[in-house]
Symmetry: C2
């Protein structure tokens, strides 16, 4: 698959709430996942598909998703950008929040080898 | 200015249709600008602020802008992403088109040193 085909498949699976299928089929087992900032108890950078799958599982366990939208992909060479908008309630805190972020993906050898999440971390 | 401050200033100037002011004040004179694909008569990659200013001038001369929106910025370290949506008519062809693209900017030494535009170039 070309980068754009992988990108479109990724967005299609996310829209169908099959994010874990996207991870299992489109990502390299050596994928590196980088947040814009470290969170309490979670480093900014994770290495390896199992760590990334676990991060997704934890996030789903800790959030109630009221609505979600995925826009894109926008490709450029072996990279592509996707936008995510979520309306969620964080279960531990009970706090409802609107998340709006973009992610930059890098493809090598037909697999996503890097995902980087972009969002404000300061005022 | 931090990367996020530069990013917010960039978006603010674009929203005010002051793109040339953004270029002149926020960009390095050695900026590199990379399109997702080369266009007829225009290489994908341009180097230097004067070439980038000229590209913008040519684009404005060749397009009638009916509406434009700029969303973001979404920062991550020394980079940020912005989304552009345009409804324009290409003057030479008379063709009206909706453009929806994202751009990834890289900041070094307090100036934008690289801009990369993301959009589909294949079906």
């Amino acid at each position: 698959m070309t980068t754009f085909e992988i990108a479109k498949k990724y967005v299609e699976l996310c829209k169908a709430h099959q994010n874990h299928v996207a991870l299992e089929t489109l990502f390299s087992k050596d994928v590196v996942s980088v947040e814009a900032a470290a969170m309490p108890g979670a480093p900014a950078e994770l290495r390896g598909l199992s760590a990334v799958l676990e991060k997704g599982k934890q996030w789903m366990a800790n959030h109630e998703v009221h609505s979600a939208s995925v826009e894109g992909p926008w490709p450029h060479g072996n990279r592509f950008i996707v936008r995510f908008s979520y309306d969620v309630t964080n279960k531990p805190s009970g706090r409802r929040m609107q998340m709006d972020e973009t992610a930059l993906f890098t493809v090598e050898g037909g697999k996503i080898v890097r995902e980087e999440f972009f969002y404000p971390t300061e005022g």
